[in-house]
C-alpha cells in the first residue's frame, strides 16, 4: 500500500472517534491543494498527499479547541503543533496527529519566476528529484530544488516529529547544500542597500494580514495590535514605514516561537520575502538561547523564562 492509501486507511479507522480530520484535497488546478476537513469516510477519498500540500493545517487548531480533531502533518507542520502544545494552546488528548515523511513542497512563487504565469497548467508530477509540468501545451522538466519552497532546501525534519499514526517510510533529512544561505547572502549587502531593499518590498504590502492569519503561531487572532487603537502602535496607512513597522512587530512577537514553516511568505499575495525576517530572528534567538522552536513539547519559551545571567548575552553597564 502506498503512503496515501495507508494514510487514508489510518484516517478512516480513527474518524469515528473524531469530529473531523484535516488534510488536503486537490484545489482549482493541479498545482493548488486546498485544506480538506474530513467528517465522513467518503470525504477521506478526496485526500491527497504530495508536493502541492503546502498549507500548514496547524493554523486552524487553536480555534478548534474543545473539539476532537485529527490533523495530517508534514515535518514542518508538526513543529507548529509541538510549539502550540508547549504553549498550552492545544489539548494533546483532543488531538490525533497523522504524520508522514514529506518529500518537499512546491513554491509557486519560485515556479512563477521560472515559467511566468502559471494559469494554464495541465499537469504537474514529482518524479524523484524533478518536477514534470505540462504548461501552455509544453512539457517542462525542472530540478525540484529550483522550484521547491526555500525551507525544503535545508529541511532537517521532513518526518512528522510528533504523531499518533505515521504513514509510509521515513524520509532522510536534507544535508544543507554547501554555500551561503539566503540570509547570509542578504547580509553581505551594506546597511543602506538592505534598507532600500526593504523599503521597496514594504511599499508593496497591502496590509491584508494574510502573513499573520496564515501563521500557526499568531494566536492573538482577532485582537492583533495591528488594528488596536489603544495602544495605537501602527496606523492604517499602508506606507512602507507603517507596513515595515507591522512586519517588525510580527517578527518580534514570533521571536523564539517561529517554527520556520514559511507560511507567511507563501501566503503573501505580493511576494514579499518575509522569510528573510523570520530567518534573522530565528538565527538570533537560537544563538542567544540555544533553543529552536517547535522541537520539544516540554520546552519553556526562551522569552518566557528568565535567568539572572544569560550565558550568551553580554551585559551592558
Amino acid at each position: 500500500m502506498n503512503v496515501l492509501e495507508t494514510m487514508k486507511k489510518c484516517i478512516r479507522e480513527a474518524l469515528p472517534d473524531l469530529d473531523m480530520v484535516m488534510g488536503w484535497e486537490q484545489g482549482f488546478d493541479t498545482l493548488h491543494a486546498t485544506p480538506l476537513f474530513m467528517e465522513t469516510a467518503e470525504d477521506v477519498d478526496r485526500l491527497i498527499l504530495g508536493p502541492t500540500c503546502v498549507q500548514s493545517l496547524a493554523v486552524h487548531l487553536p480555534s478548534l479547541k474543545g473539539k476532537k480533531i485529527g490533523v495530517v502533518v508534514k515535518g514542518c507542520d508538526s513543529r507548529a503543533v509541538v510549539q502550540l502544545l508547549s504553549e498550552n494552546l492545544l489539548n494533546r488528548e483532543n488531538l490525533v496527529i497523522f504524520g508522514f515523511g514529506c518529500d518537499g513542497v512546491v513554491s509557486l512563487s519560485r515556479l512563477k519566476k521560472k515559467l511566468g504565469a502559471l494559469d494554464f497548467i495541465e499537469s504537474a508530477e514529482k518524479k524523484d528529484d524533478r518536477l514534470c509540468i505540462e504548461i501552455n501545451g509544453e512539457q517542462q522538466d525542472l530540478p525540484f530544488d529550483d522550484i521547491c519552497a526555500p525551507k525544503c532546501l535545508t529541511c532537517s525534519r521532513p518526518n512528522a516529529i510528533i504523531s499518533d499514526h505515521f504513514a509510509g517510510p521515513q524520509r532522510t533529512p536534507r544535508i544543507p547544500a554547501k554555500g551561503k544561505t539566503a540570509l547570509e547572502k542578504f547580509e553581505e549587502k551594506s546597511l543602506p542597500e538592505r534598507f532600500d531593499f526593504w523599503k521597496a518590498q514594504m511599499q508593496r504590502c497591502v496590509r491584508c494580514y494574510a502573513c499573520r492569519d496564515s501563521c500557526p503561531m499568531c494566536v492573538c487572532r482577532d485582537h492583533c495590535v495591528a488594528v488596536s487603537r489603544n495602544p495605537h502602535f501602527v496606523s492604517q496607512e499602508a506606507t512602507a514605514s507603517e507596513n515595515f513597522m507591522f512586519q517588525l512587530i510580527h517578527v518580534m512577537h514570533l521571536a523564539g516561537r517561529c517554527v520556520s514553516c514559511g507560511e507567511c511568505e507563501r501566503a503573501c499575495p505580493m511576494d514579499i520575502p518575509l522569510g528573510l525576517l523570520r530567518a534573522k530572528s530565528t538565527e538570533v534567538t537560537s544563538a542567544l538561547f540555544n533553543q529552536e522552536a517547535g522541537l520539544d513539547q516540554e520546552a519553556v519559551l526562551p522569552l518566557l523564562s528568565f535567568n539572572i545571567e544569560e550565558e550568551t548575552i553580554e551585559e551592558h553597564d
Binding site: 484545489g27 482549482f28 488546478d29 493548488h32 491543494a33 486546498t34 485544506p35 476537513f37 498549507q55 493554523v59 486552524h60 512563487s109 512563477k112 519566476k113 511566468g116 504565469a117 494559469d119 494554464f120 521597496a200 518590498q201 508593496r204 497591502v206 496590509r207 491584508c208 494580514y209 494574510a210 499573520r212 492569519d213 496564515s214 487572532r221 482577532d222 488594528v227 487603537r229 496606523s235 492604517q236 496607512e237 499602508a238 506606507t239 507560511e263 507563501r266 501566503a267 499575495p269 505580493m270 511576494d271 514579499i272 520575502p273
Partner: protein
C-alpha cells in the same frame, strides 16, 4: 469609430505621451506580483497576464486622506479651536491595461459611490478624471468566470479604449471622446483587416470558458440557507479571515475611517477594510453581530450575490476575475460556495 493598430514596441512611447497630461497607471512586475504603478516610461509594462492587484486602487486608493486637522491655540475662554481642511484629490489619470472585468468593477463601484443618491466627493474627483484603457482577453484563465456574472472577455463596457491583442501589437478602438483624444497620441497605423481578425479572436475567447454558472436560484436559496450556520461553517472552515480576497477584489468597496496622528495634528484617513475581519463589525460594547467567520463569509457572499443586486437592478457585485481564488492561501473557491447556495436544499 476607427480602428488603428499599435505595435507592441510603440506602447511605451504612447504611455510616455499620455503621461505628459495625466498620471498613467499600468501593470508592472514587482516580485512575482503584477501591480499598477504610475509609469512614464522605462518601466516594463506587463500586458499579457492579469495583474495581481485590481485597478480599483486608482480611483479608490487603499488610503485616502479625507481631511487634515490642527488644534489651534487656546481661546480666551479657555477652550481650544480645531482647524480642519478638506483634502480632495486632483489631477487626471489613465488606467492602462486593465482587463474587461476590472473595468466592470469600476462600474460596480459607480453604482455605490457616484449616483443619484450619493456622490462621494473623493471617489468622484478621481473617477471623473480617469480614463480606462482595457485589454480584451484572448485567453481567459481557468479561474475566470466573467461570463457567469454578466461580463465577457471582450466586454467593452466601462472602457474608453479597447485594445484587442495580436501577436505583434494591439488593434485599438476608442469608445468615448476621451478615449479618442488618448488614442490620437499613439504611434499607429490603420488597422485594416487586422481589426476583424483581432476582434474575432477576442470574441471567440468566451467559448474557451465553459458554460456560465447557473445563478438563477442564488437569491432565493440564500434566504433559505441564511440561518443554516452549519452550511456556512462548512464553507468557511478553511478560510483564514485574511484580507486578500477583499483587497484584491475589483468590486469590494468597504472601508474604515481612522484618525491618524495626535490630537494636536493629523489626518482623517479612509482605508480599505475587510468584511472577513472580526473587527469590522465589533462594537464598543463588545457585541459583534458577525462574530463568527461563518457569518462573515455569509455576508461577503450575500453582499455580492444578493444584497447588492437587490439594490442595484439585479446586477451582481462580482466581476468574475478570479483573483480571490488564485490568491487565496487556502485556495477557497468562491464559485464552489455560490454553487452550493444555488444547489442548497435543506434536509
Amino acid at each position: 469609430m476607427n480602428n488603428i493598430f499599435i505595435l507592441r514596441k510603440d506602447i511605451d512611447p504612447w504611455i510616455k505621451r499620455m503621461a505628459e497630461e495625466r498620471t498613467v497607471f499600468a501593470p508592472v512586475h514587482e516580485g512575482d506580483a503584477v501591480v499598477y504603478r504610475a509609469c512614464d516610461s522605462g518601466l516594463r509594462v506587463e500586458l499579457d497576464t492579469m495583474p495581481t492587484t485590481s485597478p480599483k486602487e486608482i480611483v479608490f486608493p487603499q488610503n485616502e486622506t479625507l481631511l487634515t486637522y490642527t488644534r489651534g491655540s487656546g481661546n480666551e475662554d479657555g477652550s481650544v479651536g480645531v482647524e480642519t481642511t478638506e483634502t480632495l484629490p486632483s489631477g487626471k489619470a489613465v488606467i492602462f491595461g486593465t482587463r474587461p472585468c476590472g473595468a466592470r468593477g469600476l462600474l460596480i463601484f459607480d453604482q455605490v459611490y457616484n449616483n443619484e443618491r450619493i456622490r462621494d466627493a473623493y471617489y468622484a474627483a478621481r473617477r471623473e478624471n480617469t480614463l480606462t484603457i482595457t485589454i480584451a482577453c484572448n485567453r481567459p484563465r481557468p479561474t475566470c468566470f466573467c461570463n457567469s456574472v454578466g461580463g465577457a472577455p471582450d466586454d467593452s463596457k466601462g472602457s474608453d479604449i479597447m485594445l484587442y491583442p495580436l501577436d505583434d501589437g494591439f488593434v485599438a478602438e476608442a469608445l468615448t471622446s476621451g478615449g479618442e483624444e488618448l488614442l490620437a497620441l499613439a504611434p499607429s497605423s490603420p488597422a485594416g483587416e487586422k481589426a476583424v481578425k483581432a476582434k474575432a479572436k477576442a470574441g471567440q475567447a468566451i467559448e474557451t470558458m465553459g458554460s456560465p454558472m447557473d445563478l438563477s436560484e442564488v437569491r432565493k436559496k440564500f434566504d433559505l440557507c441564511f440561518t443554516d450556520l452549519a452550511f456556512w461553517e462548512k464553507h468557511s472552515g478553511k478560510c483564514l479571515s485574511c484580507g486578500i480576497c477583499t483587497y484584491l477584489c475589483p468590486t469590494c468597496y468597504c472601508f474604515n475611517i481612522t484618525d491618524e496622528g495626535s490630537e494636536e495634528k493629523g489626518k482623517r484617513l479612509r482605508s480599505w477594510d475587510n468584511c472577513m475581519s472580526f473587527n469590522f463589525t465589533a462594537e464598543a460594547s463588545g457585541h459583534n453581530p458577525r462574530s463568527a467567520k461563518a457569518m462573515r463569509l455569509r455576508n461577503r457572499i450575500g453582499h455580492k450575490f444578493v444584497y447588492y443586486p437587490e439594490l442595484h437592478e439585479d446586477r451582481l457585485a462580482c466581476c468574475g476575475c478570479g483573483r480571490c481564488i488564485t490568491a487565496c492561501p487556502s485556495s477557497v473557491d468562491i464559485r464552489n460556495i455560490v454553487k452550493a447556495v444555488q444547489e442548497y436544499s435543506h434536509e
